[in-house]
């Protein structure tokens, strides 16, 4: 049976012709036609575990949190509708503003540094040749380290008295700061710690670098371009898609940062005692509100505010990227 034949056959002999169908009807028709294909059904079968997981474990909880954000749910008793009260309180709670500022500062510090270092390492790896597989593995291994361990590592490496970082700085005659107690240095210390796992970004950049056509460099060289000019006018534009992808992904990751700061400053009773306001990131505060203060309704409203912030930042990034990102096959 031909789906095309079915689609073009006029219904009852007097139905609308194909040209007159609305776009919506056409889309439904196409979907129905494709569904009849065995491959399509198989494809849906294979992705169904993900769809089930997405609906039950992501979309469902998101919807539930949206509903909860309009209640005073404490996790134990019954819920009571409070309208927009939780959202109104978000703008009156000074810790929402301070934790959001902490998170934005962390993101602004971390993302450019991570991208620049990853790019530099990827370019080095690209020149290594035979041993590049080994080094790629070495750089990627820290990504496998549990983030809780990285949080503990922060306290050990950045101890103001005996930490390795200050010992190295001391070797150059630089007196190291109190990374774990000085509010001005807590965030930079955490940023440096999270760079431990830049291997994932390095691998993406390395793949992008290997995809840059060699003839573009040859053409640039013939035109008299030096290394810097070739990097600026060939490498960067050719990698712009990968750069944009890592910019978006790392921005979202940084805005949702939790594990390292929580482990170092809030994870245990002892750590909580010495918790530092400079390390109170938005998701850490959200977690406190939900599971320590039992304000699950308020925490749900907080999560939707973060969702809105991430959405706005990502949309801005996508908008700005149109001017800088080059995709293969793009006619611009």
């Amino acid at each position: 049976m031909s789906s095309t034949a079915t689609a073009t056959r006029p219904r009852g002999g007097h139905g609308p012709t194909r040209a007159l169908r609305t776009g919506r009807q056409e889309r439904v028709r196409r979907w129905r036609a494709s569904w009849r294909r065995r491959e399509t059904r198989a494809a849906y079968g294979f992705i169904s575990p993900w769809i089930v997981g997405f609906v039950l474990l992501t979309a469902g909880p998101m919807l539930a949190s949206l509903v909860l954000s309009f209640t005073d749910y404490d996790g134990i008793g019954a819920t009571r509708g409070v309208g927009m009260e939780n959202y109104r309180q978000l703008f009156e709670d000074p810790q929402v503003a301070s934790s959001l500022l902490n998170t934005l500062a962390f993101t602004v510090l971390r993302v450019p540094l991570l991208m620049a270092l990853s790019l530099a390492l990827a370019m080095l790896l690209n020149r290594v040749g035979r041993a590049s597989g080994f080094f790629r593995t070495v750089f990627y291994l820290p990504v496998m380290t549990p983030k809780v361990a990285v949080g503990i590592l922060f306290l050990l490496l950045f101890n103001g008295n005996v930490g390795l970082v200050n010992k190295v700085l001391g070797g150059f005659g630089i007196p190291g700061p109190s990374w774990t107690t000085d509010g001005n240095w807590v965030k930079p210390g955490l940023v440096l710690t999270t760079l431990w796992s830049l291997g994932a970004t390095v691998v993406i950049y390395l793949a992008a670098l290997r995809n840059v056509p060699e003839d573009l460099y040859e053409a640039a060289e013939l035109d008299g371009a030096g290394r810097w000019t070739a990097f600026r006018h060939v490498t960067l534009p050719q990698m712009s898609g990968a750069l944009f992808f890592t910019l978006v992904v790392n921005t979202i990751y940084s805005l949702q940062t939790f594990d390292e700061a929580y482990t170092a400053f809030f994870g245990t009773a002892n750590a909580q005692t010495y918790s530092h306001e400079a390390a109170l990131f938005y998701v850490v505060y959200l977690f406190q509100q939900a599971f320590q203060f039992m304000h699950l309704g308020y925490a749900s409203a907080m999560s939707w505010l973060l969702f809105a912030v991430i959405l706005v930042i990502t949309l801005i990034q996508a908008r700005v990227s149109r001017r800088f990102v080059y995709y293969e096959g793009d006619t611009r």
Partner: protein
């Protein structure tokens, strides 16, 4: 293109797909974890069998469960895990938690009152230490029975004091000016780094002790009114922070503290990294175990009028809402906290410790009867003057105990004053600013908690 399926084959395929989804769903949703048979198993949360005392107590108390199997889920109490379990209607039978959390959970109905349990079991509530019960009693209703009881007393490194030409009696917390002088006298630095803390006031964690020493309270006795902006509270914080500032400032102070090998043979007393500080009693046991020959001296912490004060805290057993076996839970927690159980366990612990040649310094249980019986029947002088004196000091301190009362804000209240202290230590706020802000946060959390409760 494939021929259309026969309707019967289509139905069979559909049935197989439904069966597959039905099988996979619980696995994907629950991560493959299948709940055990709850009817025949009694579960605990937050209790660890880390030493002989803990193991021996469980061995005694499990007898009250009869044929029900006891499953001790070891590990520290986890707030998220507990709240999720209660919210899902699948809580453990009994839980051990920090007493400062009890008021918050009680106000929200996450744990049940023990009124009926105590009445049915004819438990004499008076046998428990009042300060432990204050932390577990909200608006006159008891919610927890003490599982541990931490006293605070002054630990002094005699060698450090002698080296500086000071005497143990110079460590006098009633004389704040003298204490400042002593701290400056004992502190040592090398190459711009602190190598010894003279006197550590142990803030933020022991801040309630300094407030009490100055005649104040963080919270009213009924747990409803915060006193964080009280002038006595502000003065106590200003003084405790000035002690740290006089010894090099918080950054250097905390950095040295973080390097202490607290539980090792090279601990801070052995390495003379600290002159004197208030500390919990369990640390005397640690020192007795890992460094019994240390030149340790102990003194009670005194208020500014010279009266001994003992700030206490600890953990308590509670029964969560929806506990599958509430009757057995009641029997279990009363058995775990009874004098007989404590004494049997203390005997086992003392035997173990003495076998290694270490001094047994006694156990402090939160149960007056148990403490007295352990003192009379189990503890005996070891011949190690330092640790015998420590044990005597601790037993004497029991009558001067106080705690921060239970309150409906629970963790929020504690976080409010701890954040204030941390903000002052890091130089971000003055004591007045920090405590004013903390007062607003704490009182607002208390009011909200009490309103929800009522």
């Amino acid at each position: 293109m494939a021929a259309p399926l026969h309707p019967r084959r289509r139905r069979r395929r559909l049935a197989a797909a439904v069966a597959a989804v039905a099988t996979l769903l619980p696995v994907t949703a629950c991560g493959g974890v299948v709940s055990g048979d709850r009817a025949g198993t009694f579960t605990t949360m937050g209790y660890s069998m880390g030493d002989t005392l803990a193991t021996a107590r469980v061995d005694v108390a499990r007898k009250v469960l009869g044929t029900t199997r006891l499953q001790v889920n070891q590990g520290a109490f986890d707030e998220q895990q507990f709240l999720s379990a209660v919210a899902a209607g699948d809580p453990p039978d009994v839980v051990v938690m920090d007493r400062s959390l009890i008021g918050g959970y009680a106000a929200r109905g996450a744990i049940v009152p023990l009124t009926t349990c105590l009445k049915d079991r004819r438990v004499d509530v008076g046998q428990y230490r009042a300060s432990a019960m204050d932390e577990a009693t909200l608006d006159g209703t008891v919610y927890g029975l003490p599982d541990s009881y931490d006293n605070r007393l002054l630990l002094i490194d005699g060698k450090v004091l002698a080296e500086a030409g000071d005497r143990v009696s110079d460590v006098d917390t009633s004389d704040w000016q003298g204490l400042s002088r002593l701290a400056k006298d004992l502190v040592r630095s090398k190459d711009g780094k602190l190598t010894r803390i003279g006197f550590d006031p142990k803030i933020p964690e022991f801040f309630p002790l300094w407030v009490r020493a100055n005649g104040g309270l963080l919270l009213s006795r009924d747990g409803r009114t915060a006193h964080l902006d009280d002038p006595r509270t502000v003065e106590a914080l200003s003084f405790a922070v000035s002690l740290i500032d006089a010894q090099g400032g918080w950054g250097r102070f905390k950095a040295l503290r973080d390097t202490f090998d607290q539980f090792g043979a090279g601990n801070q007393i052995v390495r003379d990294q600290i002159g004197a500080y208030p500390m919990e009693d369990w640390y005397v046991s640690v020192l007795g175990d890992v460094s019994p020959k240390v030149d340790l001296h102990t003194r009670p912490f005194t208020d500014r009028r010279g009266r001994p004060i003992d700030y206490t805290s600890g953990y308590s057993w509670v029964i969560p809402k929806g506990s599958p076996h509430p009757q057995k839970a009641c029997r279990f927690i009363t058995a775990m906290t009874s004098p007989d159980t404590w004494v049997t366990a203390a005997r086992a612990k003392a035997r173990d410790i003495r076998k290694d040649g270490s001094p047994y310094t006694g156990d402090f249980t939160g149960n007056k009867v148990a403490d007295r019986r352990i003192h009379d029947e189990v503890w005996k002088p070891t011949g190690n003057a330092a640790f015998d004196e420590a044990a005597r000091q601790l037993y004497a301190a029991q009558d001067h105990a106080f705690s921060v009362p239970a309150n409906a804000a629970g963790t929020e209240f504690r976080k409010a004053w701890q954040s204030a202290v941390n903000n002052v230590l890091s130089g971000e706020q003055s004591p007045e600013e920090a405590l004013d802000e903390a007062q607003q946060r704490a009182q607002s959390a208390l009011d909200r908690g009490n309103t929800e409760r009522e």
